[in-house]
Amino acid sequence: MTMWRQDYRSWGRTVSANHVVDRPENRDNATRALSESEFPVLAYGCGRSYGDVALNPGGRLIDCRSLDRFLAFNRATGVLTCEAGVRLADILAVICRPEADGSGWFLPVTPGTRFVTVGGAIANDVHGKNHHRFGTFGRHVLALELARSDGSRLVCSPEQNPDLFAATIGGLGLTGLILSATLQLRRVEGLAVEAEDIQFSSLSDFFDLAEASDRDWEYTAAWVDCLASGAHLGRGIYSRARHYPGKGVEPPGRNSRLSIPITSPIPATNSLSVRAFNALYWRKLGLNGQTSRIGSYEPVFYPLDAIGEWNRLYGPKGFYQFQCVVPHEQAREAVADMLRLIAQSGEGSMLVVLKTFGDLPSPGLLSFPRPGVTLALDFPERGTTTRKLLRLLEEVAVAAYGRLYPAKDSLMTPDAFRQGYPSFEQFQPMMDPRFSSAFAQRIGLIKGEAQL
């Protein structure tokens, strides 16, 4: 009996798709679900990817969230082994508890939400505000266990099956199903953070602040007022933080405190509210233009996690994210061009984030981060005008030798992918022939519907 369902969606909710879904309870069943599937398969984590990397229309999704066991943790070395469906929120809650002196083990890298699985974090090789110091998540993966559709289970690490390891880090779920992973956690002298917010009034101020801050602050990123133009173009608020020795904090909750129970029938993010939000946010620091605090990392790293399913606020049509990285040499010009295009388009965005990436290499073949500057934004889906703007932004990014982030993407063109990720040719032979995703088909990594 095959049950097709539409409730597995992407975070941006712009696409819906029919899937057969399995939710295996353990690694044996997960492995079996792959080899016995009559449809092309794909792993699904928490569905926090905005676009279609976690969707497999007309195919089978393996929901990995019941693979949620911790397998081993060594308190002395910080080496953690867990199943791939364990979420970063669970690692924080269980492992990252403060010791008497405030110190503790911590995630070496965390994205802007803690509600992602370890498998998803590896498959997109996610990055956080500390990329310039710690690189991507994949750098801290010591080994992983990969199930393939032929029924085999392989340990992959820099020593064992190194090619498959490199392909699986940032491999968009296409090399097989990650069953478990061994991670090297990081020791911090204080789980609390010291955080500062500083207003800056132009793009060149941002670049100056970034250069000054990246040295002494391990977590940095900036919010940009995308509606400001002319002399104000690129103004925003720079946030920087670092662990505060001697002070511990309890981990944040395993779930959001509030949640949006239903999809808003009309987008709560219309142009008026975007305008109001940007104007207010720009003024939130008051007259000093600067604030500083010491305390939990939750509001600094995970501001959006306070409200569950906040994506429903964008209404039934959903919204797009766009994130690109451009090399340092082209960054000032390319970012200014993109901000100008956005301001002109009138397609406002609430969450425009600018950050510099460092030069620590990722082990992943298709990993997104590279040295340079990354810009991320979101736009409510308003049809062709929105898509046209996103196409223009892609053109600027590609012309500046940049690339787009698949985890956030719904519209990237095959050309942009090939130019941005020249390693795709080494990647393709590592793909599992029975795996498929909407993204892989759209981008041309896989030809046609089913590859069977």
Binding site: N26, D28, F70, L71, I95
Partner: protein, 253 residues
């Protein structure tokens, strides 16, 4: 949870690999309890034990048992009881949700369901009861179901077993009152576990195992007698129980 630091709580879970039981065990592990896990699959037990140790359990013991073999029950309980020299809490969580139509067609299937969902847990609770009674303390927490509240054509074999279990627990509670032993009858509604994986599991009536586990731990602390979880099922079932026959018979519940 407030628990003594010096003497970690001793908890045995029968049917420890069930979805709901796993969520309950994790909560006790995180408060530093000592756990005895009893279930039929050794590999799942080993994996659960490792998980609970990382989560903070002071100690985890595992024990294999097939609860359909009722003759083994006294030995199973005796072994679990002695692991940590007595128990503070026993959770009984195993069960099956068989196909009603198959059971109507085949008596043997109905028999299996009645054994596993009524006879076996009743005998197991009986074995635990006199041990708790002798110690004059402890908690027996048993998962029945809202399905036990009224017989319905869609699942009355399962419902009868769970309903029988509810009566049995009611009697035990009466008996153990004098000894100060808590007997908690847990009645979940729809919970997303592997038992219900064949259903669509969508909509406001469905709860996660962790939500239900939070209610269970709370009810144990508050020494409740009957727990509907999530809470609204108390009212839903009140409606179902009190629906007059002529009306009820026309529903397809």
């Amino acid at each position: 949870m407030t628990m003594q630091v010096s003497k970690p709580m001793r908890v045995a879970i029968f049917g420890a690999t069930s979805g709901i039981a796993t969520a309950v065990a994790r909560r006790y592990a995180e408060s530093g309890a000592r756990l005895v896990l009893v279930a039929r699959d050794q590999a799942s037990l080993t994996a659960a034990a490792a998980d609970l140790e990382v989560r903070g359990a002071a100690e985890v013991e595992v024990q294999e048992a097939d609860f359909a073999r009722t003759a083994d029950i006294p030995a199973t309980v005796a072994a679990a009881w002695t692991r940590f020299d007595g128990l503070d809490l026993a959770v009984v969580a195993y069960g099956t949700l068989p196909d009603q139509q198959e059971m109507e067609a085949e008596s043997a299937k109905a028999e299996q369901a009645l054994v596993l969902n009524f006879l076996s847990p009743a005998l197991l609770c009986g074995e635990l009861a006199h041990r708790f009674e002798a110690r004059k303390s402890g908690t027996l927490a048993v998962i029945s179901s809202v399905a036990g509240d009224r017989g319905r054509k869609s699942n009355y074999v399962y419902g009868a077993a769970k309903g029988g279990l509810q009566r049995y627990l009611e009697g035990l509670r009466h008996r153990l009152f004098a000894a100060g032993v808590q007997v908690l009858d847990i009645r979940p509604g729809f919970v997303s576990t592997k038992m219900t994986a064949h259903l669509s599991q969508k909509g406001p009536l469905w709860a996660s195992p962790d939500q239900v586990a939070a209610d269970i731990v709370g009810a144990i602390q508050k020494r409740k007698e009957v727990l509907y979880t999530p809470w609204f099922w108390r009212w839903v079932m009140m409606g179902v129980r009190n629906a007059p026959g002529p009306l009820f018979h026309r529903t397809s519940l």
